[in-house]
């Protein structure tokens, strides 16, 4: 040890310090996973809380109504049980769109715009499937409770297809323009504003179709009268869901 000069001793010490520093950092990097920090501020937390409370409220309401139905099953005679069952079926059919429904809503009238100065414009505009699908998706996002294209009720299983250039809804050809789309909603005014503000209007205009939207107090939607083909559906037991 005596052979080691003072200078090299200090050099060694500094290198040892560097090594120690590196080892410590390596240890820290290896041993610590970055913790997930909650960076929401009070306002966001409050909003989240409110959402959860709303959800809880809805769930409670569902539980109450399910309990009521159960009670009705339990306490009454067979005949009344049948009534309750029928009521349930009716309700479900209504939800699935199998029945005729009435109520307030809006109508969207699609009509051709004729622009004679355009030479290569199609002679008579047709509604393309993608456009119609887009519109229906949009209406559903806006909170439509029921939609009918012409006299075809659109349910969740309704196909919209292009068959040899024609647009088919529910496996039947859509009537040529003008077509009226009826949308059932509890708040027609709001739906009207939504539709007026949406980009669909521009997209239809590009296809030489005009959209005329009006609110309607009494709207009657026809029921979906084909068979619901549910053979392709599979029960997913991993996701336990209640009613709705």
């Amino acid at each position: 040890m005596n052979a080691v000069s003072k200078r090299s001793k200090w050099l060694m010490s500094i290198i040892f310090a560097i090594i120690g520093f590196m080892v410590a950092i390596q240890f820290q990097t290896a041993s610590s996973e970055p913790e997930l920090r909650d960076t929401r501020d009070q306002w966001e937390v409050r909003q989240e809380l409110q959402e959860q409370q709303k959800l809880q409220q809805e769930l409670l309401e569902q539980i109450t109504s399910a309990d009521r139905i159960l009670e009705e099953y339990d306490e009454v005679s067979d005949e009344e049980k049948l009534e309750t069952l029928k009521g349930s079926i009716e309700q479900l059919e209504q939800q699935a769109g199998l029945t005729t429904v009435e109520g307030s809503g809006i109508t969207i009238k699609l009509a051709p715009i004729f622009q004679e100065w355009e030479e290569d414009a199609p002679a008579y505009p047709t509604v393309s499937t993608s456009l119609l699908t887009h519109l229906i998706n949009e209406l559903n996002t806006f909170g439509a409770e029921g939609i009918a294209v012409g006299e075809e009720r659109v349910v969740s299983l309704s196909p919209i297809r292009n068959v040899n250039g024609d647009t088919y809804v529910n496996n039947r050809p859509m009537q040529p323009l003008p077509v009226e789309i009826k949308v059932l909603t509890s708040n027609p005014k709001k739906m009207l504003d939504y539709v007026n503000a949406s980009r669909s209007r521009d997209m239809f205009a590009l296809d030489d179709i005009s959209m005329d939207v009006q609110t309607e107090k009494n709207l009657k939607l026809p029921g979906y009268d084909d068979n619901l083909q549910l053979g392709i559906l599979e029960h997913d037991s991993s996701k336990e869901t209640g009613e709705n």
């Binding site: 060694m12 500094i14 290198i15 040892f16 090594i19 120690g20 590196m22 080892v23 410590a24 820290q28």
Partner: protein, 122 residues
């Protein structure tokens, strides 16, 4: 001999206190640098025991080993080959060799000191 150990402790404490974390992308480099540092350290101890210690060699060995290891890792990343594994392997082998040699030296030192003691007792 105590000064380097004290400094080692100071370095470790500093490292723990600063709370620095290396981003995930660079952990390979640090791993290899630490390995190189360990290798140099043990090499230095071995050279000391063999009475061949040279501070310039030690110093340059430390920095060039760390730099070369990092370079190798960088090259590996660029080429898509895990070249840093080669460095890990090389350093690992050398670590064990150095440890073995240090052990032998320590044992032989112990034996000679015992013999000396016995001789003086006689």
């Amino acid at each position: 001999m105590w000064l380097p150990i004290a400094f080692l402790l100071v370095g470790i404490i500093l490292g723990l206190l600063t709370d620095i974390r290396v981003p995930d992308a660079y952990t390979d480099y640090l791993t290899i640098a630490v390995l190189a540092a360990f290798d140099t350290l043990l090499g230095g101890i071995r050279a000391q025991l063999e009475k061949k210690f040279d501070d310039i060699v030690f110093l340059t060995g430390f920095f060039s080993n760390v730099a070369l290891a990092a370079l190798l890792a960088f090259l590996g990343v660029q080429l898509g080959i895990d070249l840093y594994l080669a460095a890990v392997f090389a350093f690992g082998v050398r670590l064990f060799q150095n440890i073995a040699i240090i052990r032998r030296h320590l044992i032989s030192n112990l034996r000679t000191s015992n013999k000396l003691k016995k001789n003086t007792e006689k």
